[in-house]
C-alpha cells in the first residue's frame, strides 16, 4: 500500500511500534492504578446540586461549577471560526441542483431538527441534553440545509449573523460581569436566579454553537468569498431563501 509516507523506512516503523507499545503499556498501567483510586468529585457535585438551579449534574458542572470551561470553550469556537474565515477564499460547493428527494427531505427534516434542538435545550436542565447537544443538532440542521443548496439571504448574513455568532460568548461574559457588579464572584450565580440565568446562557450558547458549526462547514465568510454572487451561510433559525 502506498498510503504511508514512502520515506518511512521499515526499521523506523519498527522503532515507532516499539515505542508506542511502551506508551500503550504505560497508559494501561496508569488506567489500572487510577481505576483503584477513591471517588472523584461525584459526591461533592451531588451534595451541591440543589444550589445550582438545574437537576442534571452534567449541566450543573458545565454551566455552573465549571462555567469558566464553557465560557472559554465558546471562545475557542469563535476563534476557530475566525481562523477559518480569515483563511477563506475557498470555492463554494458546486451548486448542483439537489434532487427532489434531498430537497423534500431537507424541508421536512430541518424544522424537526430545530424542534429536537429546542427540546434538548429545555430538557437539559433535568435530563440528558443541554446547550452542546442542542447546538450540535442545530448545526446538523444547518449542514443539511446547505447540502440541499440553501444559503443564507443577504439581509441575514451581515450584522445579524455576527450577533448570533457572538451572542453565546457575549451573554456569558455579560452575565458574569453583571454578577460582579451586584457583588458576587464572576459566574457565581445566586441560587435563586441560577436556573433562569443558566437557561438564558444556554439558549444563546445553543444558537451560537449551531450557527458556528454550520458556518465552519461552509468555510467561507458570508458575502466575502471569491464568488461574490453567492449569499452564503445558512442559519436555520431565520427564513432562508432558495437560490
Amino acid at each position: 500500500m502506498s498510503i504511508t509516507n514512502p520515506a518511512t523506512g521499515k526499521a523506523f516503523r519498527w522503532l515507532v511500534m516499539l515505542l508506542l507499545s511502551a506508551i500503550g503499556g504505560w497508559l494501561a498501567y496508569v488506567m489500572l492504578v487510577l481505576s483503584r483510586s477513591p471517588a472523584g468529585l461525584g459526591d461533592q457535585v451531588a451534595a451541591q446540586l440543589n444550589t445550582t438551579g438545574v437537576g442534571n449534574p452534567v449541566t450543573a458542572v458545565l454551566l455552573n461549577f465549571r462555567g469558566y470551561d464553557t465560557l472559554l470553550e465558546m471562545a475557542v469556537l469563535l476563534i476557530a471560526l475566525l481562523g477559518v474565515w480569515s483563511l477563506g477564499g475557498l470555492a463554494d460547493y458546486q451548486d448542483t441542483a439537489p434532487g427532489p428527494t434531498l430537497d423534500t427531505l431537507s424541508r421536512v427534516l430541518a424544522p424537526m431538527l430545530i424542534m429536537v434542538a429546542a427540546y434538548l435545550l429545555w430538557v437539559g436542565a433535568d435530563a440528558p441534553g443541554g446547550a452542546f447537544q442542542a447546538g450540535s443538532v442545530l448545526g446538523a440542521a444547518g449542514v443539511l440545509l446547505q447540502l440541499a443548496g440553501w444559503r443564507l439571504g443577504d439581509c441575514f448574513s451581515g450584522m445579524l449573523l455576527r450577533v448570533v455568532l457572538i451572542s453565546g460568548l457575549g451573554l456569558f461574559i455579560l452575565v458574569g460581569a453583571g454578577l460582579l457588579l451586584i457583588g458576587g464572584a464572576f459566574l457565581q450565580y445566586p441560587p435563586a436566579l441560577a436556573g433562569g440565568l443558566i437557561l438564558l446562557i444556554e439558549t444563546a450558547a445553543t444558537l451560537t454553537i449551531g450557527a458556528t458549526l454550520a458556518a465552519l462547514f461552509l468555510g467561507n465568510r458570508p458575502g466575502l468569498g471569491p464568488k461574490k454572487a453567492d449569499p452564503e451561510k445558512t442559519e436555520p433559525d431565520h427564513g432562508n431563501q432558495h437560490p
Binding site: N5, T8, L20, L27, M31, L32, R36, V84, G135, S136
Partner: protein, 102 residues
C-alpha cells in the same frame, strides 16, 4: 477487571493506534483522522475512569469535560481541514514536504 476498565483499555488502544497512524501517514487528511481517533481514545479513558465505582453514579465532571472536548475537537478539525485545503491550493500537495523547510 471491570466493565469501565475494559473501555479504558479500548481507549488506550485507540490512542496508540491514532498516534501510530499520525506518525506513519503523510497525507494530511489521514493525519486529521488519526488525531480524531486519538481524541476519542482520550475521551473514552476519561469517561471510563468517571464510572470506576460500580455502585456510585458516575462522576459528572469528566462527562462535562468530554462534552466540551467533543465540541472543541470538531471546531479544531474544521480549522485543520481548511488549513489542509489551503496547503493543497498553494503547493498542490496533500502532504507537507520534509526536505524544504521554508
Amino acid at each position: 477487571m471491570s466493565q469501565p476498565f475494559l473501555y479504558a483499555l479500548v481507549g488506550v488502544g485507540l490512542f496508540v493506534l491514532g498516534l501510530y497512524a499520525l506518525i506513519i501517514h503523510a497525507h494530511l487528511l489521514r493525519k486529521i483522522l488519526a488525531i480524531n481517533v486519538m481524541g476519542s481514545g482520550v475521551f473514552l479513558m476519561l469517561v471510563a475512569l468517571a464510572g470506576r465505582h460500580p455502585d456510585a453514579p458516575p462522576d459528572p465532571v469528566p462527562h462535562a469535560m468530554v462534552i466540551t472536548g467533543i465540541v472543541v475537537a470538531v471546531s479544531a478539525t474544521a480549522l485543520a481541514l481548511i488549513l489542509m485545503l489551503k496547503v493543497y491550493a498553494v503547493t498542490g500537495q496533500t502532504a507537507l514536504d520534509d526536505e524544504k523547510p521554508n
